[in-house]
Amino acid sequence: MEKSLKRPALLAALLIALIALPTVADAAGFAALTSLATRVLIYGIAAASLNFVLGYGGMVSFGHAAFFGIGGYTVGILYQHYSLGEPLFGFIPGTNQMLITLPVAVVLSGIMAAIIGALSLRTGGVQFIMITLAFAQMLFFLFVSLKTYGGDDGLIIRRANELPWLNMRDKHTVYYVCLAIAVLFFAVLWRLVNSRFGNVIVGLRQSEKRMAAIGLPAYRYKLVAFIISGMGCGLAGALMANFLRFASPDMMHWTKSGELMIMVILGGVGTLFGPLIGAAVFIVLESVLASWTENWQLGLGLILLFVVLYTQGGVQALGARLVGRSA
């Protein structure tokens, strides 16, 4: 009884803290905290999407940055055609309305995930890791070579997408939009994980043979999970392009896939909010270490090594174990 109340209470407290964050940050004189929190929310969405296939489904995808980048470039390319006033391929008009760009980004990354997933899921193990990486690299090089859309330098989006009745130039508004989307996203993910579908995905990780013996088509379930996960990453990428007002090939570089994986493992693989915690830990670590020393990657590498080698289940599990020990 006590335990079942603890979690909702914790979540409510977290939500209130997140809603109050910009006001508190401004009052305390840490205005930069709001931007930091926006990035955490966006990467949290991306990492949680990756975690859905990686943690729940056991599919180690090393190419999820591809979907992140596609989301970002959808926003960027639509904006470019909107600002230049010339339609894409001659008949698709550009736009700067978020109510259009976000769904388009989600659908496009879903389609790309369907293609990549359909091909990649025919393999498994190391080959799966490498083929997802290969597809992401292909897209990376494709966008590097597209001079029309900035090539190497990326695409500058002069103004964030508009939402009706909101002033999207205000950093706080952008934060609240991201927060609202993140809350919605995690609610959907929670429903999904606890649904029959989610259980099948976990079952597939534990034993594909067993699931096949029950009569479930493993390949199709995995593919749908992969598509959903890709769509989530696309959503995060579209938000990131709006937040940074920039889309670049770096969004789909393989190190970005690595970073998303780090967030997942830092927070705890196969937990609902672990990736969000992981994203927070990663981003805060990155900015704190970077403010201390130019050589922050050294610290990050050491911490990563420690977490992988000595903690089973990331920061969340570590916290739970420490609490368990002191109690």
Binding site: L54, V60, F62, L119, R122, T123, G124, G125, V126, Q127, I129, M130, I131, L133, A134, F135, Q137, M138, F141, L142, V144, S145, L146, K147, G151, W254, T255, G258, M261, I262, I265, V269, N295, Q297, L298, L300, G301, L302, I303, L304, L305, V308, L309
Partner: protein, 304 residues
């Protein structure tokens, strides 16, 4: 025709470099079941140590033992401190731990040597070109790389197929548990294989010095390509790694050489060059995707 032969030799030279890295990687994969992203860092360490010693002493030849020793030492240390704890863990842990190693090594090298690339001049013996066929001049240094690479391939073939250690390596890649059950000191074998892989990576790194810039991040560029080689050739197969390296080296080099020219016939110059470069970079990944779709375990592994 001479241009074509020159590109072919360039392809073989690139392929041979890839093989030096892929041989170690595929053994580490096949025998220990570890995905080692830090293999590129070892390549970088070999390049830095060798180039630095060569530049300080003014002798290219002294750089070779320095590069090899540094790489092998780094490999054994990595195996002892980190990789040893990763046997039997899932792939995710291995990817992340070795990704952490990449960050550490990249930063450490930046702190030691700065961000400026290092350069080493070629020894007089290997400088200049030689006329292979009438009208076909080819740099001696690149030829030397090809020769060294082929010698290493031959040496590995003999080592794996004709010696007792090689027998254990082959047995280990077929059935790890059985080798352990028969009383072989697997840990020693693992360290040995890891050290050998590191040695070859260091050799590749040092040889790359005079033709590529020795800089931070050089390891990752070639690492990903090497993984493509390993996966196409089939994990654990040295023979597969050898042929896949050569195929990939030649495909990659010829795409880079000929694609922009082909595109320029249908597009404007600069755009064709950019798109050509992009598509050539995609080429090897496309090849890997196709190979995996037809033979999910790679070209040289029998599907069971």
């Amino acid at each position: 025709m001479t241009l074509f032969l020159e590109q072919l030799l360039n392809g073989v030279q690139f392929g041979v470099m890839l093989f030096l890295l892929a041989a170690g990687l595929t053994l580490i994969f096949g025998i220990m079941g570890v995905i080692n992203l830090a293999h590129g860092s070892i390549y970088m360490i070999g390049a830095y140590a060798g180039t630095w010693v060569a530049a300080e002493t003014g002798s290219f030849w002294l750089g070779i033992p320095a590069g090899l020793a540094a790489a092998a030492f780094a490999g054994v240390v990595i195996e002892f401190l980190v990789v040893r704890r990763l046997y039997g863990r899932d792939h995710l842990d291995q990817v992340l731990a070795t990704f952490g190693l990449i960050l550490i090594f990249n930063q450490a090298i930046t702190m030691l040597f700065g961000r400026q690339p290092l350069f080493v001049s070629m020894p007089a013996l290997l400088d200049g070109s030689v006329e292979l066929l009438p009208g076909l001049f080819y740099p001696v240094y690149r030829l030397a790389i090809i020769v060294v690479g082929l010698l290493v391939a031959l040496g590995l073939y003999l080592l794996i197929n004709k010696t007792r250690v090689g027998m254990l390596v082959r047995a280990g890649s077929t059935n790890r548990e059985m080798v352990r059950a028969l009383g072989v000191d697997v840990r020693l074998l693992y360290t040995l294989v890891f050290g050998l892989g590191a040695l070859l990576a260091g050799l590749a790194g040092f040889m790359a010095g005079p033709i590529l810039a020795v800089q931070v991040g050089m390891g990752e560029q070639i690492l990903i390509t090497t993984f493509v080689v390993v996966v196409i050739g089939g994990v654990g197969s040295i023979r597969g790694a050898f042929f896949a390296s050569l195929i990939l080296g030649i495909v990659d080099t010829s795409l880079r050489a000929y694609l922009p020219g082909l595109l320029r016939q249908i597009m404007v110059g600069p755009e064709a060059d950019a798109l050509g470069a992009g598509i050539s970079s995609m080429g090897i990944y496309l090849l890997m995707a196709i190979v995996l779709l037809i033979r999910p375990k790679g070209l040289f592994i029998r599907n069971s």
